[in-house]
């Protein structure tokens, strides 16, 4: 039996730190990049976005486009994707009562990936960008299917299952889905490049179109999960205790899983598979700010956004003039972190 977490409240200090992290990472993402631009010029370009402001930035039209058309949508998209993945990770960990749960490891990302691959492979000659609704829906269907499969397989381990059982189920589901995806790609070799760049995760090529696509899902998912944060705290004690307190543990859990899967799927459909954000961020928050989901979930949104924006900054500046897939960066940071979490699992309060 895990210890009952003390219901702690979110301290304003931590909320402020999260906001500072978001603003700071966004500023870094806007000012820094493969092309050096004067920070003052960048700031003025951004100020010019405000109504009524029209200042001379000293940037030429191409430099202005770099700030407003390349960096700005990319930073905003990075914030949204990072927030979604971290929030989904925190929600999965609570709903499954499992510190190792993460969209990538649960097979959710692979399921969403298969959904997108299927659409890309079977769409005929239609352009991917012309299907703004189909792609997230396919990703969502794949994500939900995968999480259901993982959950059923994990439950089959019986009551005594360790946290690792669920992850093993997730690994098996991921492998299975990846095999189906590989088969589809072999049948449609022409789309392999498109799908491959997507599988590695990418924020390069981010546009306002992607932002508009993801934003409504982000709002809905964030509101849904944050409304359920108290239930998560009770769920983490145990289903019977939760029922004893007058809650419907299964219903809350299903709602949480649906919300987290929707968030993951929406993020994955615009950014591809970016792993480990959902495990790094909630755990760091848990270690630093406290074990209550009333603390973890809101802070995961903020620090997840900041984390992914900084990871993307690394991805686009570490090998100039090349783009490094951001999934490579997060995996590079995330894999060692995962080991750390595994080693300290017993000490992590759920």
């Amino acid at each position: 039996m895990e210890p009952v977490p003390r219901p702690t409240r979110l301290r304003p200090w931590w909320l402020l730190a999260g906001v500072v992290a978001v603003v700071g990472s966004a500023a870094a993402g806007l000012v820094l990049g493969p092309v050096s631009l004067p920070p003052a010029g960048v700031a003025i370009e951004l100020l010019n976005l405000l109504p009524g402001v029209e200042l001379e930035s000293g940037l030429n039209p191409r430099e202005s486009a770099i700030v407003l058309r390349i960096r700005l949508p990319r930073v905003v998209l990075g914030l949204l994707v990072g927030a979604m993945l971290a929030l989904a990770g925190g929600a999965y960990q609570g709903a499954f009562r499992n510190p190792l749960a993460e969209p990538y490891l649960l097979g959710v990302a692979a399921g969403a990936g298969l959904g997108v691959t299927a659409v890309v492979a079977l769409r005929g000659d239609e352009h991917l960008g012309s299907m703004p609704v189909t792609v997230p829906l396919a990703a969502f269907a794949g994500a939900l299917g995968a999480v259901a499969l993982t959950y059923l397989l994990g439950v089959a381990g019986g009551r005594d299952r360790s946290p690792a059982t669920l992850i093993l189920a997730g690994v098996a589901v991921s492998a299975f889905l990846a095999a189906v995806q590989t088969y589809l790609l072999q049948r449609h070799i022409d789309v392999i490049q498109e799908v491959y760049s997507w599988l590695l995760g990418r924020l390069s090529g981010a546009t306002w179109h992607d932002v508009r696509l993801l934003l409504p899902y982000s709002v809905v998912v964030t509101v849904m999960v944050l409304l359920l944060r108290r239930e998560l705290d009770v769920l983490s004690v145990g289903d019977e205790e939760a029922a004893g307190l007058g809650l419907h543990p299964q219903r809350s859990r299903l709602l949480l899983l649906a919300a987290a899967s929707l968030g993951t799927a929406a993020a994955v459909s615009v950014s591809g598979l970016i792993g480990f954000v959902g495990i790094i961020v909630p755990h760091l928050v848990r270690m630093l700010a406290g074990p209550s989901y009333r603390v973890i979930l809101p802070l995961s949104v903020l620090f997840g956004a900041a984390f992914l924006t900084l990871a993307d900054l690394a991805a686009r500046t570490m090998d100039i003039p090349r783009e490094v897939p951001i999934g490579v960066v997060t995996a590079f940071l995330g894999a060692p972190f995962f080991i750390l979490v595994l080693r300290t699992t017993r000490r992590v309060a759920l």
Binding site: I189, S204, E323
Partner: protein
Amino acid sequence: MRRRTLLAAALTVGFLITGCTSTTDEATSPTPGTQEGFPVTVGDLTLEAQPTRIVSLSPTVTEMLFAIGAGEQVVAVDEQSNYPPEAPVTDLSGFNLNVDALVTYDPDLVVISSFAGDLVPQLETLDIPVYVAPDNPTSMDDVYAQITELGALTGRVEEAEALVAQMESELTALFDRAPKREEPLTYFIEIDESLWTYTADSLISVLFAEVGLENIVDEPGSISVQLSAEVLFEADPDIIFLIDTRYGVDAESVAARDGWDALQAVRNGQIIELDTDMASRWGPRLVDLMADVVDVVSQVA
């Protein structure tokens, strides 16, 4: 049937970086003549008689074989070999070959790309002669060497020599026809929408350099890279070449990309659509491609 030739860019970045192989030209010892010239040895491969049941699993090689008059000896080509139209297309895959299906064609010579070279031991145990056609040539000499070797293997030595001579003279004429400039025109060549691009070391860029064009991406050791959009904007090339035209990308859609109107190539209408196959293979049609490119650079003031 679409994105096959770009698979090189798709598989892994490492593959691209190491894909910079060059054709061996030291091991060719063909005997002149056709049927009488056999046995013939190219590299490690010795053919006792002129092959009459050739299977080509490389679109570039298919184009070369037909151009040297060996088309009538070809019984099957892979699913991506869409040129010339008379090539006997099958559903054989050059990437994930079903060897059982291959054997049913009873080939006496199989030609595969070097990135599928791991099939060689298996085919050898079946006593099927295999010629591995090197990938990613970095100069026309590599291309000519490949045509010459195919000529030797198929008993088409004279035709191969004639083709090489013709390509050389036509390319020289095209290079001469291109306007001379003090400063080369700069260009970006788009392989796909995620801004994968060929670098100055690629064969196509080597040819473009001969007609007064300079690639904005010079990354020695790499044939292609995924370029940062910011770097593209900073370089602001004179011309944007598209070789992803087959995948729905055209001058109009590129001009409509958010922020791209800041680029001079977009404002000046210098977005040039090239044929995806011609630009990503290295067969005889490179001459046709270069003719189009020379027309383009001749019209730029």
